[in-house]
Symmetry: C2
DNA sequence: GACTCATTTAGCAATCCTGCTAATCGTTGT
DNA sequence: ACAACGATTAGCAGGATTGCTAAATGAGTC
């Protein structure tokens, strides 16, 4: 486990919020959420208007942000939603703006 | 108050998340939060590394996203943090990923 | 009105993002 | 080995973003 380096934390938040900036990527996360948190790249790709490679790159952005993890399964690749990280980073940031305090 | 048009809701979320994608803009929101939710454009600008016009444009992006509102005061302009909207839009989206359900 | 201060707008260059098509890689099945 | 399938990578064009400097606006002051 990495030390609680605040600089690293900031860079991670940067990548997470940058990843959430694109509607298709938020849609991918929601789709994953309501399909049990795990789908193959193909299952995800067929649900979107853009081409396969474009979706694949969106998935790469989400993976580099740590919002999904990849688990190869045969010749397919399962993408697994990292719910705790999404709630952790975004929730922590949003927590600064809570009414009380 | 606008009708609960889902399409409009989506477009608003787009703009909000796009606004949050830039570190300087998140920093502006945090700075506002911990200075009482209200600051003039100048007070905000002097705290950032970039030039005044650049900060001004960041503020415009936040304003178009509805995350801040502007209140002219004399020849200055106060930017007011729209906490309830930030918590509303981001919190609602994040709510879809809560553990239960 | 002329002048100053606070802030924004205009205009430009560099960079990043997103979409596509074509080519590639790794696994399965014959 | 070969072909088929799932998925990613490479390369490119169009458009958006971000930063800057210089010029313009708008409100207060003399």
């Amino acid at each position: 486990m990495a030390a609680p380096d605040p600089k690293r934390r900031v860079e991670e938040a940067d990548r997470v919020f940058a990843a959430l900036a694109h509607p298709s990527r938020r849609q991918i996360l929601l789709t994953l959420r309501f399909r049990g948190g795990r789908m193959s790249a193909g299952e995800i790709a067929v649900r979107f208007g853009c081409t396969w490679p474009t979706t694949s790159r969106h998935l790469a952005v989400l993976r580099e942000a740590g919002l999904v993890t990849v688990e190869p399964r045969g010749r397919e690749r399962d993408y697994v939603l990292a719910t705790e990280r999404l709630n952790g980073i975004v929730g922590e940031w949003l927590g600064w703006f809570e009414p009380e305090g």
